[in-house]
Amino acid sequence: MSQHIVSEPLPDIQEVVTTGQRQFRRFNLNTIGVMTFLFVFTVYFLVPFFWLIVSSTKSQADLFGTFGLWFAPDFNLFTNLQQLFTFNDGIYARWLLNTLLYAGVGAVLGTFFASMAGYALAKYTFRGRNLAFSIILGAILVPATTLALPLYLLMSSVGLTNTYWSVLLPSLVSPFGVYLARIYAAAAVPDELLEAARIDGASEFGTFRIALHLMTPALVTILLFQFVAIWNNYFLPLVMLNDPNLFPITVGLQSWNVTTSNPSSGQTTYNLIVTGALLSSIPLLIGCIILQRFWRSGLGAGSVKG
């Protein structure tokens, strides 16, 4: 990917936008002050992770017995991992796979459908277009929790509750994705291009594929957004699912947490919950690191150009 120079009304100032580096100082703030501030908040954001990592290396007894922010003499991480994956017949691994299924399929299909809808709203004029967009925009403001309960009742009337579909299907709906797709399609896909393609004999789906190609950054943004949203989803699967084999990580870990603190269960699994929580954060972290460049370049807000 070549770096592209953005042409400006003042052509003697050049800038490379993609790397985010400015070629001249714009702030005269004390570097030390800025760095200290950033460092302090880095500590704030990372200390819980550190605690999580340290705690994952401890046994249950050490969790309570030793100081939280440093390791115990007994390094128990591998035992914890082994216990984590064998507890309850290895249900944790199943939860990880479930979450991957829900988030992966949901994000991919959801992005595809949202991009189609956004493209249609942006590039065609048809009756009801503005009404449709307003409704979809309004849908972003509706709390997800309002939907989960009646959705449960509706799903149960067709016998879909407590199945993979009960979580997958609602996850395919991404009003925010349609919103993003629409504004990006309107901005990045020139009508002239589509017209030219049509003149050349391309079908509507063919022009859509051209548009998709141009909309890639937005697609990646929507995909990431949807993936993270479904990965984090708690309320919907909590309501829909009874069978622990179908739980995603969020519901699964919380169910362990609740079981640990109730009268008649026999489980004490704090070390497993902590290790499980650490593992559940890693996939998203890795994903975000890898896709960082797309995230950065996909979406922004700025000023009017002269």
């Binding site: 449960y152 993979y164 109730n262």
Partner: protein
């Protein structure tokens, strides 16, 4: 030319959607196979039942049943304990896909009766067991001539105490509540880091058990209406007793069954716990280092020489209306709670105290426990079980009562009002709530 090309793109589009749609249908039908819902066969082939319970050891009992009853296969699920399971039961009932059999505690029996989803087990031979269960449990599971559940276990209260701490600080084992309060003062004076017990404001089941002991009756059935007396004089008596201990800061007020509380049991910051037989398992599991330090004594009495007790917990197994095999489900429920091997799995797994009287003599319940200083604690509970008043009645909205009680008691321990004020508030809110639902209420 234009006409044909317009059709071709439509055709292609339609083809794509058809493919997607077919895949959709295929996947749906595949998914139906992987769902976890009730799949019982009506005609030939084994009967399949689903059973929800949170008792440790119930899974082994179910496995034994499946071995010995090849024609009736039961699938065991632990979907959570207590209210977590009830939440799922309510939604399941709404959707008509609740399990065939489930474990429910006594206090929610009326609530489940109000759903209309319980199956009367009397046509299925349940009546034969009538005199074999601890009497008050049978009363809790019957309504008129209908039998809605088979009692499983009970929770008569007793005083678990740290014998080592009592010895260390020369605290006598209290036999009356007045002595208990004196002991609390003495203990705390001797060691300011030690408290007689913990008062968990959001554990109304425990508090109700204590009220039960005084003869307080929160609910009574009076003809065709409910009599609600959550703030009766007896209840207020219990409230003011504990309020006094709280105000004098002789007891802790943290949530129970939480880390901090388990920690306190182990460290000796909390010296006693008034609880049921299943409490033994909790202490053993969460305060293992205190093995040998605990003993159990009868619950303190309000008047010297009395012998009355209350109950906390205990559950039954019920059969739900969506079942397609009520006869087999009833058979399973009866077996689960009366079969010796089955109950012994549950006793071992959960320190369950059986409601089925013949099993009270089980060998598992006759041996001294090293954790409790080689005391046979179950002898005491056997005695206590007979002292539980059998006319206690639960109301039809206990979740709401418990919620409101918990909220009000939490305010009281924070200094806003007293426990007694809380009882008054819950009385009002309960009557209002019940009336709103259409129940006939008298005061």
């Amino acid at each position: 030319m234009q006409f044909f090309s317009s059709f071709s793109w439509m055709r292609r589009l339609a083809l794509r959607f058809a493919i997607v749609g077919t895949l959709f249908v295929l996947m749906t039908s595949l998914a139906a196979c992987s769902s976890g819902t009730n799949t019982s066969n009506v005609s030939n082939g084994p009967v399949n039942l689903t059973f929800w319970s949170w008792i440790n050891g119930a899974d082994k009992a179910v496995a034994l049943w499946n071995q010995t009853h090849p024609n009736i296969h039961v699938k065991y699920s632990n979907v959570g304990s207590g209210p977590v399971e009830y939440d799922k039961l309510f939604t399941g009932i709404k959707a008509n896909n609740e399990p065939d059999i489930a474990q429910v505690e006594f206090q929610v029996m009326p609530t489940f009766e109000t759903t209309g989803a319980l199956v009367d087990l009397s046509p299925y031979g349940a009546g034969a067991f009538k005199n074999q269960f601890v009497p008050w449990t049978w009363n809790q599971d019957t309504l008129g001539s209908a039998i809605y559940g088979i009692p499983g276990d009970t929770g008569p209260l007793a005083l678990y105490y740290r014998a080592d701490l009592f010895a260390k600080y020369h605290i006598p084992v209290p036999t009356t509540w007045a002595q208990y309060a004196d002991d609390a003062a003495k203990l705390h004076a001797a060691n300011p880091n030690t408290f007689m017990t913990d008062f968990p404001p959001k554990q109304p089941g425990w508090f109700t058990g204590l009220e039960w002991q005084t003869g307080a009756r929160l609910f009574r059935i009076d003809g065709q209406s409910w009599k609600v007396s959550i703030n009766s004089p007896q209840a207020q008596q219990v409230a003011s007793y504990w309020q006094d201990l709280i105000s004098r800061k002789l007891i802790k007020t943290e949530p129970d069954f939480a880390n901090a509380w388990f920690h306190d049991l182990q460290s000796g910051a909390v010296a006693t716990w008034i609880t049921a037989p299943w409490g033994a398992g909790i202490i053993e599991l969460n305060a293992p280092k205190t093995s040998g330090d605990w003993k159990v004594a009868p619950i303190p009495q309000w008047q010297a020489g009395q012998n009355v007790d209350g109950n906390w917990g205990g559950s039954s197994n019920v059969v739900f209306k969506s079942t397609q095999h009520p006869k087999e489900a009833a058979e399973f429920a009866e077996w689960l709670n009366t079969n010796q091997a089955s109950m012994e799995y549950q006793i071992k797994g959960n320190a369950l105290y059986p409601a089925y009287e013949p099993l009270l003599n089980s060998s598992l319940l006759s041996s001294p426990l090293p954790f409790f200083g080689n005391q046979n604690i179950f002898d005491l509970f056997k005695q206590a079980s007979t002292q539980v008043d059998d006319s206690f009645q639960w109301g039809p909205t206990m979740e709401q009562v418990y919620s409101d009680t918990g909220d009000n008691f939490a305010n009281a321990v924070n200094g806003q009002g007293t426990l007694g004020d809380g009882l008054n508030a819950v009385q009002q809110s309960t009557i209002a709530y019940m009336k709103k639902q259409g129940f006939s209420v008298s005061q």
